[in-house]
């Protein structure tokens, strides 16, 4: 026993050294982790002629520092504000529609035990594995025919394509919700719509937040679907604008380009720091259900 205590003491001493070493290592790794973003930030403040592949790593001097000039140039040339607007419209309408319709659908298919419900559930699970390339060509054609090719209608396509994950997550949670509360509401004279919005939806709220976060991460960053569906000359979301900005000039202007990257990244970082807790919970919930 005495030997054991001595052993423990040695371990905790060694452990303290290991822990300190790990903290140093992790700090170094973290700096390395954010370095790419810092590099872009530094370069976005430099004079256009001072940016080349050979000089990316040099810091701006008093001659090459241009302040926010690249930002002004980039924003006007890329028409960044309208892109930002389109991205916001598409993301907000799509995610709101997905949460509303899919939670209703999930409640229906868990509470009504018919073949169609089971089929719907299986198809939703199946659609999550299918790669987008499988449907991209025909989906773009269908969207054109049905006039779903504007930033205001594209949310219907996002509802169809995002339904898989959302229905899957909501049904996973619905199964653990007891029927008794809903039955009590029914006896009190509520119709199914009232039951859903007054009783079920408030219970679903944590899942709704998780799902909304996962779907937002997807829609906001999605490049290929809007590129194929929307008319690139009229409407450009942020990822489309960045890709277009780069592809349309003979020589890419690096300064404004990097400024645009920074304006895209900064709001994401702020939003992330503000609601980090929900985002991480959302990821964990999504993984457990998936």
């Amino acid at each position: 026993m005495a030997k054991k205590t001595y052993h423990d003491g040695a371990v905790s001493g060694a452990r303290r050294v290991v822990d300190a070493a790990l903290i140093v290592l992790l700090t170094a790794l973290c700096l390395l982790w954010i370095y790419p973003v810092i590099l872009i930030l530094i370069n976005s403040l430099k004079l256009e002629t001072a940016i080349s592949t050979a000089t990316v790593f040099t810091l701006p001097t008093s001659e090459t520092f241009v302040g926010l000039a690249n930002y002004v140039h980039g924003v006007t040339q890329m028409n960044f504000l309208s892109s930002f607007g389109y991205s916001v419209i598409i993301t907000v309408t799509s995610v709101a529609l997905i949460i509303l319709c899919c939670s209703m659908c999930a409640w229906y298919i868990t509470r009504v035990n018919i073949l169609a419900s089971k089929l719907m559930y299986l198809l939703c699970a199946f659609s999550m594995v299918v790669p987008f390339q499988m449907v991209m060509f025909t989906l773009a054609k269908t969207a054109d025919t049905l006039k779903l090719n504007t930033p205001f209608n594209i949310c219907i396509i996002y509802l169809g394509f995002g339904a898989g994950l959302a229905v899957f997550m909501f049904t996973g949670f619905m199964k653990s919700v007891p029927l008794a509360i809903e039955e009590a509401a029914m006896i009190d004279g509520c119709n199914p719509l009232q039951i859903f919005f007054k009783v079920v939806f408030p219970i679903l709220k944590p899942t709704a937040i998780s799902t909304a976060i996962l779907e937002t991460m997807w829609v906001w960053n999605d490049y290929l679907l809007p590129t194929l569906v929307l008319d690139i000359k009229k409407y450009r979301t942020i990822p489309m604008a960045i890709q277009y900005f780069r592809g349309s000039y003979g020589r890419v202007e690096m300064g404004p380009m990097m400024a645009c990257i920074m304006i895209t990244v900064i709001p994401i970082i702020i939003l992330y720091l503000a609601c980090q807790k929900y985002i991480i919970e959302g990821v964990v919930a999504g993984a457990v259900k998936g």
Binding site: D19, I23, L26, T27, L29, C30, W33, I34, P36, L39, V56, F57, C101, M104, C105, Y108, R111, V112, N113, A116, L123, V129, F132, Q133, M134, V135, F137, T138, K141, T142, L146, L148, I156, I157, G160, F161, L179, E183, M186, P192, L193, N221, D222, Y223, L224, P239, I242, Q243, R246, M257, I261, T264, V265, I269, Q276, I280, V283, V284, A287, G290
Partner: protein
Amino acid sequence: MENAIKKYWPVFLLPTLAAFIIGFIWPFLWGIYLSFHKFITVSKTTFVGLDNYIKVFQDATFVEAFWFTARFTIVSTILINIFAFALALTLTRGLRGTNAFRTVFFLPNLIGGIVLGYIWQILLNGLLTNLGLPLLALDARYGFWGLIILMCWQQIGYMMIIYIAGLQNVPGDLIEAASIDGATSFQTLIKVKLPMVMPSVTICTFLTLTNSFKLFDQNLALTGGEPAKASQMLALNIYDTFYARAGAQWKGIGQAKAVVFFLLVISISLVQLYFTRRKEVQQ
């Protein structure tokens, strides 16, 4: 109660179902149909049987893209999972600053693929130039490792979060029991923690495998398939076949490639789920 809800199907079920048919079921079925046809516009198609599929395998760029994708998927899946698990283990020791570290490692995940691709292109090209090596777009080997680094940077944080959640669910009395029985910390890791987090391993390998295999945005932005399609992955190859090649049959072949791609993704997922699920223990 069931019957009362059942009557409300136009409100509850129909919107999602309609959008799901428009956005997924119809394009999916139509895609399978078109893969057996030759067409320039979809209004005029001719049936060609398995001709498109035969041409898919005769297309050297597709076969090359397949091997590139396969190598990429294997290397990235292994690296991401090892690093993510190692980070999760270090971040569940109760170190000071754990939350800050977790925040930083997860961050790249929220940035979209296109933007990530350009950030790394600038960084890696700068690095290669300063080392006197050819640029990313000139040598597919650098393109390959560039994509691996980018993918690790983006995905390690996400998988780490899932592994942390798994490790936190391992009951403390199990670990205590192991240490009373005299297990070293390495034995505890292999014999107790690892079997207990197998569900997380299943999920993470599934996600990394499918994400890597289906990679598109990062590939397009980082290398664009350069040089001469040597760093092109399957998803980009299919896109390229549809929209960058002129000629009567390429759209049909592109759709056939998409069907082959879909079958590959499905089989890989099923095989992987079968093997890792077997290793899971009852909690």
